[in-house]
Symmetry: C2
């Protein structure tokens, strides 16, 4: 899918940079890849990479074709504090999928499931740009675990509501989905019980 | 993918029946499709369909390439009662994915995500063979909703642990995963609060 050869015509340069970015991020990871390296790989000036994508973060997000910017939406969701964070996350997630960004998100799921390199890229993107940001804000034990458990519930929601389309999840109103799943996401993010995993807990039944 | 023309050579007959089954189940649904119709479509005797797949259920399961039989595992999981059902479901799910059945399950996810017909087939299969069986056993309000919410958590687990491979979920021991997610699945299946979705619940925070 990613080719780095020079192409004629307008728009080819941006595509070439993106292909180089995909290849470099997949090979070297986010830390290892550089704007300079991507530019060399795409045979353009580094300034052109920054012109199109603003930063390494921006190039990474474009490389994984993620339609919303975690640097923007996560601070907004976190700003009111931990109280109600689970419900805000579920609501934002559903509203994003129900918006024009939903269709590219479906594309992201398709490429991640179908392609090992895309899965590697997405793993690094999600861990760094999404889960890492939430984990740093939590100030609780096992923040990475908490963010990952919350993500597992959200991805499962996307699979059943938007991919397989199982009722009643597929047609439920946003408020209903928030009421059903918000408490779970909140539990993962802030419940002290979550971080005691050594024995099978029988407490919450 | 599904072709129904006659093919030469051994093994072709079973494949032809499967292709006919996939096409008939996708077009007519489980209720609408018949052993007789699948046989006619594959140009074989209905007895041959039963020889290979035992029943319409069996042909359906083979058509969606589901590697475990819900008619077998669900009654086993339900037998000890509702108490601890969430943890038993999570444990069975993880153990199945970690077994030789995991690789075909990944194939199921790939085809469902990549192909609308496969998603339709899987939706009917999961609703009827998996969620329906659990819902009937629950004897609680909104059983279909409960089973679907539980499934959303399990599918999300599969996506993060086996497809995208996000840590710490990817390398966690079965017992840890059961301790983290079992209470959530149990909550969806049996908590009276789940079935009051008209307003955003603020109780469980």
């Amino acid at each position: 899918m990613a080719r780095t050869g020079r192409r004629p015509g307008t728009g080819g340069t941006k595509e070439r940079i993106l292909a180089a970015a995909r290849s470099d991020f997949a090979r070297a990871g986010f830390e290892g890849a550089t704007i300079r390296g991507i530019a060399a790989h795409a045979r353009v000036d580094p300034a052109l990479v920054l012109h199109y994508f603003e930063s390494k973060d921006g190039a990474f997000r474009a490389a994984v074709q993620f339609p919303v910017d975690p640097a923007e939406f996560i601070p907004k969701l976190l700003a009111p504090g931990l109280d109600g964070l689970g419900e805000r996350l579920v609501r934002f997630f559903v509203e994003t999928w129900d918006s024009p960004a939903g269709s590219p998100l479906l594309g992201v799921i398709r490429s991640v499931v179908g392609n090992e390199d895309a899965a590697t890229l997405m793993r690094e993107f999600v861990q760094r740009q999404v889960l890492g940001r939430i984990a740093r804000a939590l100030e609780l034990d096992q923040p990475q675990l908490r963010a990952t458990l919350a993500a597992s519930q959200l991805i499962g929601l996307a699979m059943l509501r938007y991919v397989v389309k199982v009722e009643p999840l597929a047609s439920a109103r946003t408020d209903e989905v928030v009421a059903w799943l918000g408490p779970t996401v909140q539990h993962y993010l802030t419940d002290p019980d979550v971080a005691k995993p050594t024995r099978v807990s029988r407490r919450r039944r």
